[in-house]
Amino acid sequence: MNASYLTSILIWLPIAGAVLIWLLPLSRYATGALALLISFAEVGFWIKQAAHFDFSQPGLQMSERANWFGELGVSYHVGVYGFSLWLVGLTVVGMAACTGYGFWVGRERPRAYFGLMLLLTGATVGVFEAQDLLLFYAFFEAMLIPLYILIGVWGGARRTEATIKFVIYTMAGSLIMLAAIVSYGLKAGTFDLVDGPASASRWLFLGFMLAFVIKAPLFPFHGWLPEAYREAPPEIAAVLSGVIAKAGLYGMLRIAITKFPDPTSYYRTTVLALAAAALVYGSLLAFRAPDFRGVVAYSSLAQSGLITLGLFAGTDLGFDGAVLQMVAHGLISISLFLIAGAVERRTSTGEFRLLGGMARGRPALATLLMTVGVISLAVPGSASFAGEFLILAGVFQRDWWWAAIGAGAIVLAAMYMLRLISAVLHEARGSTVSDAALDLRPGELALVVPLVAGLLFLSAWPAGISHHSFFGPSPAAAVKSGFK
């Protein structure tokens, strides 16, 4: 059955919703409810898309194509592959949870806020579905605009520096990518990602990679990360690390590795080294971070490094594990940032020295944070254990010492995550934790529990993603063929 209209709907429904919210003079409550309704509709459409997706069929599915400007071979071309399907799912689910969080805490200026959240949803889905380089670039940039305003208006005290750093860093990368796109597309005669030929140009590869490693981010391009994650409202930080960062990793897979096979192998060691550095350095910083969000922020850096290890291992197991870990870590970091937000609302701080002892009398908070934390540190049987194991096995096939570094870093993950759990939940009661601070309310539970349920489901059946991301028995062969 032809369900390709779903691909476009997933992009344009939230954008249309944003315009609607800006035009209609609705009350605060009605605005939030409408935005949430649209987010749920997105999840519904995605479920329908997943139901119609045929995993036994190679190539692009549910594609739609329309001329944008034919003279240069640029078109509106969208469609999904297995792995993009999962990332779209992560986006719509994550954005629904974060929009719900914004509704729950009652953000000021609701029409602007919810409109921008929907705009962000549409743009991010667009990144994962675009099959034309310029369209991809347009959505990649379009994500930045709502993020800039969301952090800049609703963020913390030092939001101005945070937004400037964030935007200038990411735009520096993406503008270089634009130059690379122009060069690649004009040489190839088309900007289409499916039809476009592979290129052997190392310069172009580096141009694309720069944008992706800044977005992901990888060491040493993560300068924007700590401030952006700390100053953003918690739900925006959740989106940033859970969803937006994945756009950079997705770009590596879909464009850098697929379209530039020779430069990929030429620079493989360099990228793997940067990824390993990000993994180790991020884990160490997370262990030293003095606050809740700092730990999650630096652990995101570490996880981006780990996923990049999987992608650039270039082996079957590496690719499978990377996609699984993208989704698993996305869910984990969204849950953690939302819980961080809940803690900060109750204590007005995220600093460990002022926190502690929150488990007593708050069973829901304690259970959820424990569950997510334990999944996050890759306890055997969890989704991220499956992901990390696949990645390490994949990179082991490349060279054993990469796996050794990775395995070492995973021990660090256990250290920083247990430190986080004990600093928030256990130890002596912190000075800011009062008895008046309630346990998680039903509204908050309704946002976080589904995410954790998703994680538990993936823990039970990681093959749901890892065996359903690439066509055929060998992901590496699928990547090599350009997903034809």
Binding site: N67, F69, L72, F139, A142, G152, R159, T160, A179
Partner: protein, 508 residues
């Protein structure tokens, strides 16, 4: 004795003639129409003139598939002319809407007895300058080129200074007059040298003379081209010929700035592309490099100077210089692709430049003081529509995919890359990065500081309490500009087709 008058294709000249006619009619309003209805009468005439001009220009576009010169080789009747005229007249129509509520002096506190003093002359000058620009884009020889340049420039000099109560307006007018005359003189001197070397004034004739007599390296031709490039550079406010731009844009009434920053640039860039490709195709290696370097300097000076400004009109003036740099990238390639890129870029650019100044005008009328980044505080929340329009425009300038500015940049880069100038792409990319800082700064000023942070300079007359005035016509103009700017992002193919037809009438 019989006088042989050439055959005149009146229909081909009709857009220009219509505007001249309505300019006279508007001028008559100043003496014939009672003061009470003078403003609305003159504005109506102006709106009718621009609408009729657009209709005729569109008609001529359809009807002029094969471009040729008319009026004894003085004027091109082709699609390049017509499309340029449509853009100019559309901006003119927007400026008319903006000017209806324009009052001399600062805002609505101005002296009521004098607020309608020069309103009819204002519209007459607007129409006259538009007529001059319309003739300028179609001019086919050095005489009509210079004539029409002076024609619209003189109208603009007066428009800059028309609010003589306004601090800085007279200075702006005088500065523009002096620098503009210097530019015009440079152009004239260059034209004279080219005429001296080739013995002809028509663009086509110059090209054939240069190629048949082997004058490509001729000193007079080369110096002539250099002087013409400089003279035209003044009009398009490209660096290093930009010194007047920030002061004039800041000092002139904002309505006039909106008109100058978009329409003048359209006319100057389109004419320059025509003159260079038609008259000097064999010297492309010279003027191509010249414009590539001018583009680089404009991008550098425009963007870096904008970083340190606080007055929004000055920021936008430097941004206009930088935007000229981007368009010059397309121009400098001298290729058909470059021409299309230039023509396409001008559409969202003209809409956005007009729109941003219109929004500044709205804030200015509200506060009664020059608009700085500081007193934009809270603007985005108070006037949501204008705020959203502003961030669309400035993000579009920055090349983010909200308006056609995104595709325009891409097209210009593609043209440069196609011409083998990859370094120019890199320059453009770096310039865009720098420009982000001040474009984001405008958005930050509007949204990220509450109205309680609003600081007015002494003498400000902020509207105390109550909703700001509903300037319906201004909002309508901004809305139209927004539709054009955003629409051009989606309707790339149709616009490029129009541009392709327009370029096909040029010898590229």
């Amino acid at each position: 004795m019989t006088l042989n008058t050439p055959y005149i294709d009146w229909f081909g000249l009709s857009p220009v003639l219509t505007l001249i006619g309505t300019a006279f009619a508007a001028l008559l309003c100043a003496v014939l129409v009672p003061r009470a209805v003078r403003r609305i009468a003159a504005a109506s005439i102006s709106a009718i003139g621009f609408t009729a001009g657009i209709v005729l220009a569109v008609w001529l576009y359809v009807d002029s598939a094969s471009g040729h010169t008319i009026a004894a080789g003085a004027y091109y009747r082709d699609r390049w002319t017509s499309l340029g005229q449509v853009i100019i007249f559309a901006v003119g129509l927007g400026t008319t809407l903006l000017a209806v509520e324009h009052v001399p002096g600062w805002g609505r506190e101005a002296d009521r007895a004098r607020r309608d003093d020069h309103v009819a002359e204002f519209f007459a000058l607007l129409l006259a300058s538009a007529a001059g620009m319309a003739f300028f884009v179609g001019s086919a020889n050095l005489i009509t080129l210079f004539l029409s340049l002076e024609w619209f420039s003189i109208a603009l000099y007066v428009m800059c200074a028309i609010d003589y109560d306004l601090e800085g307006a007279l200075e702006a007018g005088l500065k523009y007059l002096v620098v503009g005359s210097f530019g015009a003189a440079t152009l004239l001197f260059g034209s004279a040298l080219v005429y001296g070397a080739t013995g002809t004034v028509s663009f086509g004739g110059i090209a054939s003379a240069i190629s048949s007599q082997g004058l490509t390296g001729d000193t007079f031709v080369v110096v002539g081209i250099a002087l013409m490039v400089a003279g035209l550079g003044f009009k398009m406010s490209a660096a290093p010929f930009h010194m007047w731009t920030p002061d004039v844009y800041e000092g002139a009434p904002t309505t006039v700035t909106a008109w100058m920053s978009s329409a003048t640039k359209v006319a100057a860039l389109l004419l320059t592309f025509r003159v260079m490709t038609t008259a000097f195709p064999d010297n492309q290696h010279l003027w191509g490099w010249a414009f590539a370097i001018i583009a680089t300097i404009s991008l550098a000076i425009g963007n870096f100077a904008a970083l340190v400004q606080n007055n929004v009109k000055r920021i936008l003036a430097y941004s206009a210089i930088a935007q000229a740099g981007f368009m010059l990238i397309g121009l400098s390639t001298g290729s058909a692709l470059g021409g299309r890129a230039l023509m396409y870029y001008l559409i969202p650019y003209a809409a956005s430049a007009f729109g941003t100044f219109a929004i500044v005008a709205a804030r200015e009328r509200e506060l009664g003081v020059p608009v700085t980044l500081d007193n934009l505080a809270g603007f985005g929340w108070e006037r949501p529509f204008l705020g959203v329009a502003m961030w669309f425009f400035v993000f579009g300038f920055a090349g983010l995919p909200l308006t056609g500015g995104f595709v325009g940049k891409f097209y210009v880069f593609a043209a440069a890359y196609d011409a083998g100038w990859a370094w120019l792409v890199i320059v453009g990319v770096l310039a865009t990065l720098v420009s982000l800082y001040y474009y984001l700064g405008i958005v930050r000023a509007m949204y990220m500081r509450g109205p309680e942070e609003l600081q007015l300079q002494p003498g400000g007359v902020a509207v105390s309490g109550g909703a700001p005035a509903k300037e319906t016509l201004l909002q309508l103009a901004v809305g139209a500009a927004l539709v054009v700017a955003v629409g051009s992002l989606f309707a790339v193919e149709p616009l490029i087709t129009l541009a392709r037809h327009a370029v096909s009438s040029l010898p590229v």
